[in-house]
């Protein structure tokens, strides 16, 4: 912006029209020399970096996918190759997890060692009192108090008891009724 052709003439602004004229003058300022070359140079630099760093996305990233090189275009679209790549990723993840799980130390029942309680000097002693955890007493359900249970118990008793205590029991070697003894 230092060239003599890149300067605007000072016009004292008195009204909006003159202010607009000043804006127009600012808008007409020519671009600095060599701007196009510098822009092209920057673009070339980015394009080269894009070719070196293979694997960057074309849209949304800073670089673009190289379309001529070791990687042939369109390989990512092959369904078989994509499935193979997905399977390989799954195998690697599952295999890695499995190997970590098998190689790691197994938990065994380690007997707990009760450390002796050491009283701090100058502190209060517990006088041998054992601390018992405060637990709530669970509710005790009295069996048979429930009316239904009572009824079922009675029914069971009735079923066990003889239906008619006065009725004679049939003889063990009973004969068929009406059969005469020989």
């Amino acid at each position: 912006m230092s060239g003599p052709e890149q300067r605007i003439r000072f016009v004292p602004v008195k009204n909006a029209v003159q202010a607009e004229a000043m804006l127009r003058q600012l808008a007409e300022l020519p671009a600095p020399e060599g701007l196009e070359d510098r822009v092209k140079h920057a673009l070339r630099g980015h394009a080269l970096r894009g070719q070196v760093l293979k694997g960057a996305p074309q849209i949304g990233g800073a670089f673009f996918w190289p379309e001529n090189g070791l990687v042939k275009p369109g390989w990512r679209r092959g369904p078989a190759l994509r499935a193979l790549a997905a399977a390989a990723i799954v195998l690697i993840v599952v295999g890695g997890g499995w190997s970590v799980a098998t190689l790691g130390p197994r938990e065994e029942a380690v007997p707990r060692i009760a450390l002796p309680h050491v009283h701090a000097p100058g502190g209060f002693s517990s006088a041998g009192a054992m601390r018992t955890p405060q637990t709530l007493n669970p509710p005790v359900i009295q069996r048979g108090t429930h009316a239904k249970e009572k009824r079922t118990a009675e029914k069971a008793k009735e079923a066990a008891a003889p239906a008619n205590p006065k009725q004679k029991k049939p003889k063990a070697h009973g004969r068929i009724a009406g059969e005469k003894s020989r």
Binding site: M22, L26, E36, R38, V39
Partner: protein
Amino acid sequence: MRDETRQHAEEEVLATLVDEYAATLYRVAFSVLRNAADAEDAVQETFLRVLRHRATLGEVRDHRVWLIRIVWNLVLDRKRRAKTRPETDDIADLARVLHADGLSAEEQAAAAQHHAQVLACVDRLPTKEREVLVLSAFEEFTSVEIAAVLGITESSVRSRLFRARNLMAELLNHSRSLR
């Protein structure tokens, strides 16, 4: 081989776009940012975006309007984020572009201050009116093109420009009465 040819063609199109529109984009960027280095950065960023989306170049109908729209959005975003930069930088940059013939150093400084005050009035305009006023300062842009860049109708451009001029006159009168 076909890819190489295609890439070569894309590079040629991009180079043509740079040759044809870099200066215009710079002027648009400078009119908003008012700083030479920032304006050049904005132009480079614009063409980098084009490079990234070069596959869609064939779908663009009007490259000029498309590029101006990209740089316009970019510089507005930069302007919004660069609120922390002191305004004295802008004034110093303006002093450099002022015509020096027949003006003493003091007069130059006063002129730069005066321009800065006018630009401060422009900055005080509502966003919609300001955008139209700044773009209308480019004589090569038609109202249709301004409408396309801003994404509004041509009649909206005209009404906003009318409002901008009225507001600008009020602000200038107000600033003069304060002095």
